[in-house]
Amino acid sequence: MILKPQTEDFKIIGYYLGRIILGLALTMVVPIIIGMAFKEINPTMDFLISIALTYIVGLILTTLCFTRKDLNWMQGMIVVSLSWLVATLLGAIPLFLSGHWKSYLDACFDAMSGFATTGLALVQDLDHLSYAHNIWRHLIMFIGGQGIVIVALSLFVKGFAGAFKMYVGEARDEKVLPNVISTSRFIWLVSIVYLILGTFALGVTGILNGMKPVNSFFHGACVFMAAFDTGGFTPQSQSILYYHSLTYEVITIIIMILGAINFKLHYHLWTGNFKEIFRNIETKSLFITVTITFFITAVGLYQLSTYPQALVLFRKGFYQLVSGHTGTGFMTVYARQFINEWGDLALVGIICAMALGGATCSTTGAIKMLRVGIIYKALQQDLKKIMLPDKAIVIKKLHHIKEVFLEDKQVRSALTITLAYLVLYGAGAIVGMLFGYPFLNSLFESTSAAANVGLSCGITNIGMPAALKLTYIIQMWAGRLEFMSVFVLAGIFVAAIRGK
């Protein structure tokens, strides 16, 4: 029997959604400060309009739905899925007001792409965009990478039981520390320490590369946020090609990998447990899958003689591969080069890398390394069961922070999510093909959107059909939240109609 949601449910959902919106409004102070610092009058106005509107929405919800009740699982999940949609709608307002986006739908596309740390963009004339709007594009990646709810949770002074439900709803089922609030704050601590170090490294590199100091550190901060949160936006239209610098590429590779590893692993590294990195199933899986997918890509590039030297092939191939595997989407080639020069095999290598993703409890999207490791171990276990006598008991263990026995429950969960991702990649590809794009191009772009990567083979542009833009928005949203909270949101609509 399906239970019809009660008014009280909507009230609780509305109240916590309002709190999250108020948290989002606070983050708009950053671009306002940047706009004022660079004396950008109209961009500052855009953000004043947006912050006022966001505050009004948040205030109305928290006032009308005021409650002291805690969230249950269903409500927590719905708050999360709705908060990402509402954040997209509100976060797109300053983008649209700038005049650099052709329509509000395009602005929403980029806002969702930013929050979901995808990096696909429909912005026009990016090279003339204001500092305020540029910092906002990258800040929403930083917020989305940590998790919109994590931002809000960090702002709550006191913890509450429902916090964990929202935390899980945002595809973070692992706590670094026993308490969700302290976990959120640890995630912020890690991110801010790396932000300072990364911005400094990229800023100094920028100066050495001949950039003006202010631009250099501004770009450093933006590129760091996009790299660590595996987002992929850049302040200039040429992505990382703009910098023409090997050092810049090396630093961004390091940051992308740091962003792709589990925050729990960061915690162990910070506390001096360096052995964990070599024992953890996620880092092992990441190493193996990077090696395999790079091999496929390199063979593809070699077959077509795309690059005349092995070193050049490595530099171009490996950068795009790491960018795709970590879900970042930085590019050192032009989008059309993928289709015109890379060939099918190299593209398949990149698509596989994008589809796999980084670690759980990191800022990446896609299937993720823990699930890949679990599925591999389960396969090993099943093969052993077949080969050994019937009475033999086969036990498999895996090391993820601690030694754990492989259970059917884990395997089922890993396979369900993996299947859901594969369906999502395929569905997006079918929609692309319905609009007349070739199969491989459609699959590439669909996987990039659903796995929150941001590499593009050229389909994503302002001229693409609105329905395809909507498809990619939904893919980015569902892919980032790992389905569960999206399914629950769909479930509540069914319950509202069919429930008793």
């Binding site: 090279d127 631009n215 023409h244 005349p308 070193l311 050192t332 080639v333 032009y334 080069q337």
Partner: protein
């Protein structure tokens, strides 16, 4: 004897005149060729999308590319990197530092960059620069000078801000009253 001498002198004069004629002709031809080369060096510009979409076809060829200088001019020793956007995309230009002295404006939010025409060799995957798609420029010519963009306050946006702040204040007061 005298007639022979005169004949030789005439021959010499005729030879000199012929040489002079040849020199004048060669000089005129050289001038024409120079003019033709200079005119063609910046003729038939190719767009960034044409270059990127047909990179193999243009690889190693002399091309002319035109667009606005954007972002930073990044000096690297005797050379520097320019990024030039033609409205369809941006391409990196590797050029001698001395040749970009005339570039005064680069495009950004507050400035419109100089529009230049660059002539040079196009590389699909430049070996010198790690496989980047770029142009090694031989010459550059400023076509349209850039300028600062004067920004004026959009009164419509200002009115929206005032109205929304007033509404926000009103709702905030109401919410305080309701909670009491």
């Amino acid at each position: 004897m005298i007639s022979l001498k005169l004949k030789a002198k005439n021959e010499k004069l005729r030879h000199k005149a012929q040489n002079l004629k040849l020199c004048v002709l060669s000089f005129s031809f050289a001038l024409c060729a120079l003019h033709f080369t200079l005119c063609n060096a910046f003729a038939d510009t190719i767009s960034s999308s044409e270059l990127i979409n047909n990179a193999k076809q243009y690889d190693g060829k002399n091309v002319t590319y035109e667009g606005e200088v954007i972002g930073d001019i990044m000096a690297r020793g005797q050379y520097c990197w320019l990024n030039i956007n033609d409205g369809q995309g941006a391409i990196g230009i590797w050029i001698e530092k001395d040749l970009v002295k005339d570039i005064l404006y680069t495009g950004g939010y507050k400035s419109k960059g100089d529009v230049v025409a660059v002539n040079g060799i196009f590389h699909r995957a430049c070996l010198q620069h790690g496989g980047d798609l770029d142009i090694h420029a031989v010459s550059i010519r400023k076509i349209v000078p850039g300028d600062d963009i004067e920004e004026s306050l959009d009164s419509g946006k200002k009115n929206y801000v005032i109205t929304l702040l007033a509404v926000l204040f009103f709702i905030w007061i109401l919410s305080l009253l309701k909670r009491r």
